[in-house]
């Protein structure tokens, strides 16, 4: 009898435990090589000449002096390449040849032997322009006679979204109270710590290997190809570790095809890296929106209708920003039970910079509005903020007007837990009394809630993810997944799923997800989808491998596969944990025995969600989740400074898989929302970014971080892997309006345009004192 056979191994679960990311030790020691750190032999440095105009005809570009500079290998302008259109609506070009439409526009690019030479060459390029009349505000762009940004869009209309449900006019006429508000949310930017960077390398047959920070490698090929005039199949995407993404790398941006065009022109690898200033000016922002919202409520506190007009400043080109109404309208139409709803969202071209996707994808903007309006309506009808929300919260089984199926709705639970844990109502009432007490320190408490897709979002024809799982002769597992790792920790979550199903230790699992030539397809890291979608695919693959292994073990013993389990590297009897055989030994027997069986399984998981129809109706996500967050603040009425003391977050997460990871995602999201609430705004004036540095664009730092208390509602989602839901966007969505509501509770002043900077708060208090 071997030693293994004497062992009895108890069943242990790793689901819900605290698992450090497998790449953390290398990241802690500086060993990790980001693209920003990579050097290839014969590599050249790429640089872009951005325009200094916001709207102008290009008369001429003189590159002669730049080309003559020793060490310069290529200088490209739009005239050197065919007109290649790219972007979600094909309105962008890698290099602009006829006119420039915003301050970001790329008019020339250089590949040189060093950064110094590239900078010198850029400075030697002379561009002659004829300025055109610009337009910066979306409403002005839509007015008659406004300057035209794209000649093929003479009315400056870019994208339009409309949804309507119920009889709004009748609902409004029958409402006891009708209110109208206007909100404006600003340009903010991701501030990834790793500046944008790309490295392009063509082989001798014309195939491109691109080292990219992208968070959607498979569709990236499809989107990059038209910008280069090559076949998507001839692009291989390698994804070295990335210094933050947060949605900013969910599209192709001009610097990427430009770098590839330089590599093509020089037949050498070219790397192009943004400076921090370029990063602030030239990388995507969150979509700014102006909202007008009319809302109705009856005296008993029931919502009657909600009508929203959203005007989106498209900027000069279209990335994902102007498509965010798809998610935005789900919140306006489906958050709380509102019998009649309508949403109209129009994006207008201007000569401003343009927005991409940013953690929360339109719902950040929608939730700032809805959560603020809910507070105001509660006050209108004389109800407290908790009772009013509970009265209008949906119950399990309800379906929203756009078809989001709330089969297990925990909105009410989240609100009740958040209110209970924070002693909300007594603090809320006390703070109102304290407003009139002399003194400059006022305290406030505020709540906000939202809903978000938590089982992917079927905005493409497939929302799937593929997995290849193999076990080697030593019982080491390799999981090749389509899901990208951008710091969020899918590596740890997928490892846990493999550990749980196959009883293999963490250290014996390798996750491979950085090469489009190896990985099976995945939509990308977005929409809070990766744990849910990639997790489900990994789970199904792991279960198939488990079945194959247990079937083989059953075959050589006198028990059935169902009576066996995998624990700590052994096949054991499920009832008593007694080990039958070591897993690696079994795998070798399977491999080298007479059956010649290798364990390697594949899976493609497609969630049971549906794309929207033409009227924007459909159950877009396989699962939906709610959250309720409470903010407690201190406002200094002398300086206008708002200090967030505590955030209490309650969220339906389905099931916690990696406790360490979920806490990190929620704390990180809260920090981003804290910046949105209080300090972050890209200051735009006449199309130019006035504050392109960390000095003047204030992101939260450690001392501003409030105490954070997290409560997970584990609803055990029946479609989710191990019961889990997607979680990562709600923490970046809900805190900001909770903070604004808390500020109102403290000082009785309502803010309709974040960020609530000290200047803005002090000015509002000053104005209020004269009323």
């Amino acid at each position: 009898m071997s030693a293994a056979m004497e062992k009895s191994l108890a069943k242990k679960t790793v689901i819900g435990t605290r698992v450090p990311k497998p790449d953390a030790p290398d990241k802690a020691t500086g060993r990790t090589r980001y693209i920003n750190d990579m050097v290839l032999p014969r590599m050249l440095v790429g640089k872009i000449l951005h325009t200094d105009r916001v709207h102008a005809k290009i008369i001429s570009i003189d590159t002669r002096a730049a080309k003559a500079l020793p060490g310069v290998h290529a200088v490209l302008t739009g005239d050197d390449i065919p007109e290649l259109r790219f972007g979600p609506t094909r309105d962008n070009f890698p290099l602009k040849s006829k006119k420039v439409r915003c301050i970001r526009d790329e008019v020339a690019a250089v590949a040189a032997e060093s950064e110094e030479i590239a900078d010198q060459a850029i400075a030697l390029i002379k561009v002659e322009y004829k300025d055109l009349k610009p337009v910066f505000s979306a409403s002005e762009a839509l007015s008659k006679g406004a300057p035209v940004v794209h000649e093929d869009h003479p009315d400056n209309r870019s994208l339009y979204y409309e949804f309507s449900h119920g009889d709004i006019a009748a609902a409004e006429a029958a409402s006891d109270i009708v209110v109208e508000h206007e909100f404006e949310v600003p340009y903010v930017t991701h501030c990834c710590m790793g500046p944008s960077c790309v490295l392009a390398d063509f082989d001798t047959t014309g195939k491109l290997t691109i080292y990219s920070q992208t968070q959607y490698p498979y569709n990236y090929k499809m989107d990059l190809a038209p910008a280069l005039g090559i076949h998507p199949g001839d692009i291989r995407v390698i994804q070295p570790p990335v210094g933050g993404a947060f949605g900013s790398k969910l599209d192709v941006y001009p610097f990427e095809p430009i770098c590839a065009l330089l590599a093509k022109a020089t037949r050498r690898p070219v790397k192009l890296t943004f400076s921090r200033e370029e990063e602030f000016i030239n990388s995507p922002t969150r979509q700014p929106v102006e909202f007008r919202i009319r809302s109705g409520v009856n005296k008993d506190g029931s919502l009657t209708f909600r009508s929203v007009d959203a005007l989106l400043n498209n900027g000069a080109y279209t990335s994902w920003g102007p498509t965010t109404p798809v998610i935005q309208m789900r919140t306006f139409t489906g958050h709380f039970r509102v019998p009649a709803v309508e949403y109209k969202g129009l994006a207008a071209y201007t000569n401003n910079v343009y927005a991409g996707s940013f953690r929360g994808y339109g719902n950040v903007q929608a939730t700032f509005v809805t959560a603020s309006v809910m507070d105001m309506l509660a006050e209108e009808v004389g109800m407290d903020p908790i009772a009013f929300r509970l009265k209008n919260a949906q119950k399990s089984g309800e379906v929203t007007p756009q078809g989001s199926i709330l089969d297990d709705c925990r909105l009410g639970d989240c609100i009740e837990i958040a209110a209970g844990k924070t002693d909300f109502l007594s603090k809320h009432a006390a703070n109102i009394k304290n407003r009139d007490v002399p003194g400059t320190r006022k305290y406030g408490i505020g709540i906000a809630t939202s809903i978000h897709n938590a089982g992917g979002a079927k905005i493409h024809k497939s929302d799937g993810c593929g997995t290849i799982l193999k076990l080697d002769d030593y019982a080491r597992a390799t999981l090749i997944t389509g899901a990208s790792e951008i710091g969020q920790g899918i590596d740890a979550v997928l490892s846990q799923i493999v550990m749980e199903e196959l009883g293999i230790p963490f250290a014996d699992i390798t996750i491979v997800n950085n090469d489009s030539a190896l990985g099976p397809w995945d939509v990308g890291v977005h929409a809070s989808r990766t744990t849910f979608i990639a997790g489900n695919s990994a789970l199904r693959a792991a279960r198939a491998a488990r079945k194959q292994v247990l079937d083989a073990a059953a075959k050589q013993s006198n028990v059935t596969a169902e009576q066996l389990d995998l624990r700590e590297g052994h096949v054991v009897q499920a009832d008593n944990g007694v080990a039958i055989i070591k897993l690696d030994r079994l795998l070798r027997q399977m491999h080298f025995g007479e059956d010649h069986e290798l364990v390697m399984v594949t899976d493609y998981y497609e969630p049971n969600s549906e794309p929207e129809d033409r009227n924007h109706v459909g159950n877009l996500s396989a699962s939906w989740a709610h959250g309720a967050y409470v903010a407690e603040v201190e406002v200094d009425t002398g300086t206008g400074e708002v200090k967030v003391l505590k955030i209490t977050a309650v969220q339906d997460v389905g099931r916690v898989i990696n406790r360490l990871g979920i806490e990190g995602q929620m704390e990180g999201g809260i920090s981003v929302s804290l910046g949105y609430a209080l300090s972050e705004q890209l200051q735009m004036e006449d199309g130019k970014v006035l504050n392109p540095s960390f000095r003047d664009y204030k992101v939260p730092t450690a001392p501003e971080t409030p105490e954070i208390e997290l409560h997970f509602v584990e609803s055990d989602c029946k479609e989710g892997p191990m019961g889990a839901k997607g979680i990562a966007e709600l923490p970046a969505i809900i805190p900001a309006p909770a903070i604004a509501n808390a500020v109102y509770n403290a000082i009785g002043v309502r803010f309709f345009a974040p960020p609530l900077t000290p200047e803005k708060v002090a000015r509002a208090l000053h104005q209020a004192s004269f009323q």
Partner: protein, 163 residues
């Protein structure tokens, strides 16, 4: 090409001699001449702390210090922190407490944390979470939200001075 100047300094305990251009930054020297890419260029103007290294025991923004000024000094970078025995205690705490997500800012953050732990501003009193947060104010992180970073450093405070 501009004139190069020879400098000598101690790098992670090892004597180093090399020629640098007078305009080269310490960060560029470490990354481009010595292949120590742990410290990152994230802003280039001393605002984010991702390039933090120790010079003569003090943390500096290596993106702002000329390489020639390293002459005769002692430099320690993130690469010099771990030993053959494994991760240094601060590095291990960052791993265990889940402080690291994308990790780009972490070499700088960890160097600042190590410095802070070695230079308790209020000697004799154990550092609080507020002390730690203030001490890390110059290091920007966009992933973690800082809570787990402070957790990690607070755990080291306890471990290094348990009483």
């Amino acid at each position: 090409m501009s004139l190069e100047i020879e400098i000598k300094f101690s790098l992670n305990g090892r004597q180093t001699r090399l020629k640098v251009s007078p305009t080269m930054t310490t960060l560029a020297m470490l990354r481009e001449k010595l292949d120590l890419t742990g410290g990152k260029l994230a802003c280039g103007e001393g605002e984010c702390g991702a390039c933090t290294v120790l010079v003569d025991g003090h943390t500096i923004n290596s993106c702002l210090m000329f390489a020639v000024d390293c002459d005769g000094r002692e430099l320690q970078t993130i690469e010099g922190l771990a030993t053959d025995a494994g991760l240094e205690i601060v590095q291990q705490a960052f791993v265990d407490h889940g402080a690291i997500q994308c990790g780009y800012c972490m070499p700088g953050m960890i160097m600042q944390a190590r410095y802070l732990l070695d230079h308790n501003p209020d000697k004799g009193r154990k550092m609080t979470r507020d002390d730690i947060a203030r001490g890390l104010e110059g290091n920007v992180c966009r992933c973690s939200g800082y809570t787990k970073v402070v957790d990690a450093v607070a755990a080291v405070v306890l471990e290094e001075s348990p009483s």
